[in-house]
Amino acid sequence: MRSELAVGFLPLVDAALPVLAREHGFAEDEGISLTLVKDMSWATVLDRLLYGHTDAAHLVAPLAITTTLGRGRPAQPISVPFVLGLNGNAITFRSDLAARLVTPGRLGDPVEVGVKLAAIVRESIAKGVKLRFGVVHRHSSHNYMLRYWLAACGIRPDVDVEMMTVAPPYCADALEAGEVDAICVGEPWNSVAVERGVGRIVLVTAQIWRRGVEKVLALRRPVLEEKREATEALIRALIRAGRHFVDPANWDRNAAILARSEYLDGNPELIRRAIADRLLLTKGGDLVHLPDFMFQYREAANFPWVSQAEWLYTQMIRWEGIPFTPGDAAKAAQVFRPDVYRSALLGTDEPLPGASSKVEGSLGQKTAVTAQQGEMVLENNMFFDGMSFDPTDLEGYLRRLP
């Protein structure tokens, strides 16, 4: 029996898996007739999800949790049975500032850049000016990762600098107009700023947390329950899309598909750079290989680790100043649904981890871990400051953060 599913998305490279699942017929093979609904703001993607225009959505991970907890609007339980990808964002500075932070054409080291940036921030404050950072949404991994890095470098995000929201398509404009000094955004928008000569890529978020959770597939919990079989079929289609996405043989073709007007409506060359983890950091420079820049498939990257949801919850507590409660922590943890992922992929070739939660940031090298199915090897998943996140002690972690 054929099921129909509508999935909302924002035109970003990391909307790739649903797009490819449709375009390569992977969804069709699973008996899913997939419709994709493009929007231009997370608010609209979320509205369509909550009011039933779509069944599922490509969503910034923290927004799934804050919607469940009722931050900003009445609470509605959201479920995340699949992670659409890890990282894939960069921090692009105004060119003159970037020149003071890194050697042109080279990616910075987060610690070194942090030290230099802290000096510039102090200098600016002494002149009565605060640097401004643009992120795409308050409840985004961009915001949490940028703040994590700034805070670890001794820069207080709400005190020493200003944080503001900028819509991704306007990031390059905002840099050019001097409305912001730096942006943290997904691709292709950093590359667009670089190509326009208004900014330089200084860091990528993979350098802040090597395995940082980024976009997720979000459904309203009642919809997931009602359309459980179709959702599991969609997960199998998305996994195939992930495998296709990371295969270099498909990069040109997939970049061309994503560039089409109904999807990103952008330049296939810039999109290919992100897919290939090879970005131009400075206009006129050479492509630089950034390992694990986008991490869409390997090491069960799509598995919704409960510990990821809990990490996001700690960052929400940290930056929004709301009190920690075990009840909210439990609700946040329940947003990620490894049980659905497992049930969708049990009996396939896909490896399934033995655990559903892990200490994040604890692995410096390749490590074999127990698996429910297949073989699981995890690689470097460190935070740049060497801290690790133990999901059994959220409050202890919050106390240790700067």
Binding site: D39, M40, S41, W42, A43, T44, D47, R48, Y51, G52, H53, R71, G72, R73, P74, G128, V129, K130, R132, V136, H137, R138, D158, V159, E162, M163, M164, T165, V166, A167, P168, P169, Y170, D173, A174, A177, E179, W319, E320, G321, I322, P323
Partner: protein
């Protein structure tokens, strides 16, 4: 797009507290007379006076229409202009949007769902201390139908907290109607354009047949129609095939 820049410049204290935690702000919901069941996403801005809620009932409502399509904004504006209880402000420029909204100090903000600045605007409504009164999203759960209608139409609205529902409702209904009318207008236009393009293609195909086979116009059309009927296709599809083939064979 941009946080309101206070006249004193970038270092103003307002700007350094933009992301204040919600729980540190006083809850004006009770003072605004909202019951626990009126579950709007109420996010009070600091420094706001509860008495403003009462004043809202008496004075003219300020309505901001945020739309990058100037034509659609004009269509909405025209509809609302007939009412004598509102003053309309149209914002089509995205640059300085938040500063402009802050100047207008609207009671109701209407913004199209396709506008990339929605997240920026919501962020501003959530935390801005520059606004004298809290803005709530119009997501009262008791009025699911009205929200659904508005999302279907492609418009979202933000309403100052405490504004009486009987004042909001007609404005939103009108906005929804106007948005729907505009969409219909657009699809009619697209259809008309499509028909025009079809007629041009058929004319072109006729000319090709007339030139290459020495047919008169009625015969050329009859040929197209006959072929279309035989193949179970539309005339325009056959005409397109003729034009394409002609181009491929080096015709002009």
């Amino acid at each position: 797009m941009q946080w309101p820049v206070p006249p004193t410049g970038r270092q103003s204290p307002e700007n350094s507290h933009l992301w204040l935690p919600r729980h540190t702000l006083p809850d004006y919901r009770a003072e605004a007379g909202l019951s626990g069941q009126a579950r709007r996403a109420v996010l009070p801005a600091a420094g706001q006076l509860p008495s403003a809620d009462i004043a809202v009932h008496k004075r003219i409502m300020r309505i901001a229409i945020v739309d990058e399509s100037a034509t659609r904004a004009a269509v909405i504006q025209e509809g609302l202009a007939k009412r004598d209880d509102c003053e309309i402000f149209v914002v089509t420029e995205r640059r300085g949007l938040v500063a402009r909204i802050s100047e207008i100090a609207p009671d109701i903000v209407l913004i199209d769902l396709g506008n990339p600045s929605r997240d920026v605007l919501e962020e501003y409504f959530t935390v801005s201390r520059a606004l004298a009164r809290p803005i709530a999203m119009f997501v009262d759960e008791s009025d699911e139908e009205s929200i659904t209608a508005s999302i279907d139409a492609g418009v979202s609205s933000y309403v100052v907290d405490g504004l009486a529902p009987h004042r909001i409702r007609p404005i939103l209904d009108l906005a929804v109607k106007r948005f729907n009318a505009f969409s219909r207008l657009q699809s009619d236009l697209a259809e008309a354009k499509g028909k025009l393009a079809e007629r041009e293609t058929v004319d072109q195909a006729k000319r090709i047949l007339m030139d290459s086979r020495g047919l008169g116009e009625p015969q050329a059309y009859a040929e197209l129609r006959k072929t279309a009927m035989n193949q179970g296709k539309r005339i325009v599809e056959i005409a397109e095939a003729v034009v394409t083939a002609h181009h491929l064979l080096g015709g002009k």
